[in-house]
């Protein structure tokens, strides 16, 4: 039987004459967590913008296909694209502080995001808002929601962005290096939160990062991006079998051997399982 695919990507992207993405192909099943790993400048952020149809805003062009629910998004009109952004496919951006609009309160951020896809329904909005805020472990009191982005911590801002991404219960969340601006402790909390919430709602996750430790914690499969091409795709549990020099280089940069890391993760997973059972 043919597997049901949520997202099938095959694209090339360029800025003017400069080809940034030469051959990027990957697939995503419902509820799956795929990591997209690569060094800086490999084209990770370009993939994010391409998948959301936002590359033209940065002066780039995309070719190929992005199949979501069997529909090629790249052939859609902007009107139709917009209806899917934030609704079917949501983004958790890289730098939490600059991703929030400085003069607007947190509540206004949520209200705008809600009105982008739903008309009216103030009571439904309040209910959903309280749910997502509780999910990301943020206070739900009006005093907190009246704050501006400059009045909260980076960790809180990242939680706000996760809550914004979860607001419409999307099928896919793209997380673009969501932990790179955070301290190690907060990093860990955010990764745990992402893992818990994507499993809870069965949301597929496209996790973009160069931090292999969080990839092992969070993802089922990993695709390695090098100079605009996906050079290797493998299951996270088979990381030790990686062949491509780029993958080996990434693994070599880990503070501990990858087998040790996988073993730790397996054991903590078992512990979690026994706890929940």
């Amino acid at each position: 039987m043919k597997r049901h695919l949520l997202l099938k990507v095959d694209l090339q992207a360029r800025y003017g004459d400069r080809a940034v993405l030469k051959d990027v192909r990957f697939e995503l099943e419902p509820g799956e967590a795929l990591a997209l790993v690569g060094t800086s400048g490999a084209g990770k952020s370009t993939i994010v913008l391409s998948l959301l149809g936002l590359l033209p805003w940065r002066g780039g062009t995309v070719k190929g296909e992005v199949l979501l629910d069997g529909l090629n998004l790249l052939t859609l009109k902007e009107r139709e694209w917009r209806k899917r952004r934030g609704y079917r496919i949501a983004l958790i951006p890289q730098s939490p502080m600059s991703a929030l609009n400085p003069p607007l309160s947190l509540l206004t951020h949520f209200a705008h995001a809600w009105k982008a896809h739903n008309k009216g329904g103030q009571s439904v909005f309040k209910e959903r808002l309280n749910t997502v805020l509780t999910e990301v472990q943020l206070p739900i009191d009006p005093e907190f929601l009246a704050r501006r982005p400059s009045q909260i911590s980076v960790g809180q801002a990242q939680r706000v962005l996760i809550a914004l991404a979860l607001l419409h219960r999307p099928a896919i969340i793209i997380a673009d290096e969501p932990t790179s601006a955070l301290d190690p402790v907060t990093q860990n909390q955010i990764v745990e939160l992402l893992r818990h919430l994507t499993r809870l709602h069965g949301t597929a996750l496209l996790y973009i990062s160069h931090d292999l430790v969080s990839v092992v914690q969070l993802c089922d499969r990993m695709a390695v991006l090098d100079a605009g091409e996906i050079v290797e795709t493998l299951a996270v549990k088979d990381l030790g079998l990686a062949r491509h020099p780029m993958t080996r280089a990434l693994l070599g940069a880990l503070p501990v051997p990858v087998d040790v890391l996988l073993e730790c993760q397996r054991q903590s997973g078992v512990k979690e399982f026994s706890k929940s059972a």
Binding site: R85, L91, L104, H112
Partner: protein, 262 residues
């Protein structure tokens, strides 16, 4: 902050005093006292009368209120138009943006004083005083927006490519949601623009009035009063008439400069 509140209170006091004088004196702005033409201060006319025997203090107060109201309204329209045009230009395609800015440049390059004179002199002589006041301030508003629109355009262009804008788009932001996302960011630019336009329009109206092209008689205006003082001997005697306009413009400028710092 202290200067700002001083300027604010000063303005409020002037408005209240002027309103009190106009409403409580019991004299209409065009009421003539034929027995007292061009008189000095007296009990009946605390600031004397003009060449038609009209009470000066009532006319100065009325002119103050008219000028301030007109200038504030014109400034509001002009700033709002600038915000609209600037946003539209920044968030449409590059071609539309460049074209709009070209139109702004053309507007800026127009000899506006000449244009004002032209527009005013095209109006029929039978234009009512109220219409002439309205037209004067509408014309000022129509000529005031391009400089501000350029500033808004530059500011909005920066915001258009900001991180939070990309994130808002990724969240499915509708096109009609853009102003509510962008305008709060442009407020520090629009507020001083609004405040600096008010004194500029007050002075522009006075200049036009001096040429006889501003607010028509019998409505009082700063410029109209300057016009009747063509006689320099009278000008020497009644130099105090300009005190209110000087205080008004200074208060407005003070308000503007402190608002920019805040």
């Amino acid at each position: 902050m202290r200067f700002r509140s001083i300027a604010g209170w000063l303005l409020l006091a002037m408005v209240l005093i002027a309103t009190a004088i106009v409403t409580s004196s019991g004299k209409a702005i065009s009421e003539q006292d034929r027995n007292a033409v061009l008189e000095g201060a007296s009990h009946r006319h605390p600031a004397g009368t003009d060449s038609l025997g009209r009470d000066r203090i009532v006319r100065v107060s009325a002119a103050f209120l008219l000028s301030l109201t007109g200038a504030v309204a014109a400034s509001f329209i002009s700033t709002a138009a600038a915000a609209g045009v600037g946003l539209l230009a920044a968030f449409s395609t590059a071609g539309v943006g460049t074209l709009t800015m070209l139109v702004c440049d053309v507007f800026l390059a127009l000899p506006w004083l000449f244009l004002l004179m032209m527009v005013r002199s095209m109006l029929p002589l039978s234009t009512s005083p109220a219409d002439s006041a309205l037209i004067t301030f509408v014309v000022l508003a129509a000529l005031g927006w391009p400089a501000c629109a350029r500033a808004v355009y530059q500011g909005a262009l920066r915001l258009r490519n900001s991180e939070w804008m990309i994130h808002a788009r990724a969240g499915g932001m509708r096109i009609r949601q853009i102003p509510r996302q962008v305008l709060p960011n442009l407020l520090p630019l629009l507020l001083p623009q609004f405040l600096i336009c008010v004194p500029a329009f007050v002075v522009a109206e006075a200049n036009l009035g001096t040429l006889g092209l501003g607010v028509g008689e019998p409505l009082p205006s700063w410029g109209g009063m300057l016009l009747e003082l063509g006689n320099s001997a009278i000008l020497m005697q009644t130099a105090w008439v300009y005190l209110p306009i000087a205080v008004l413009v200074m208060a407005l400028l003070l308000l503007e400069s402190t608002a920019r710092e805040a």
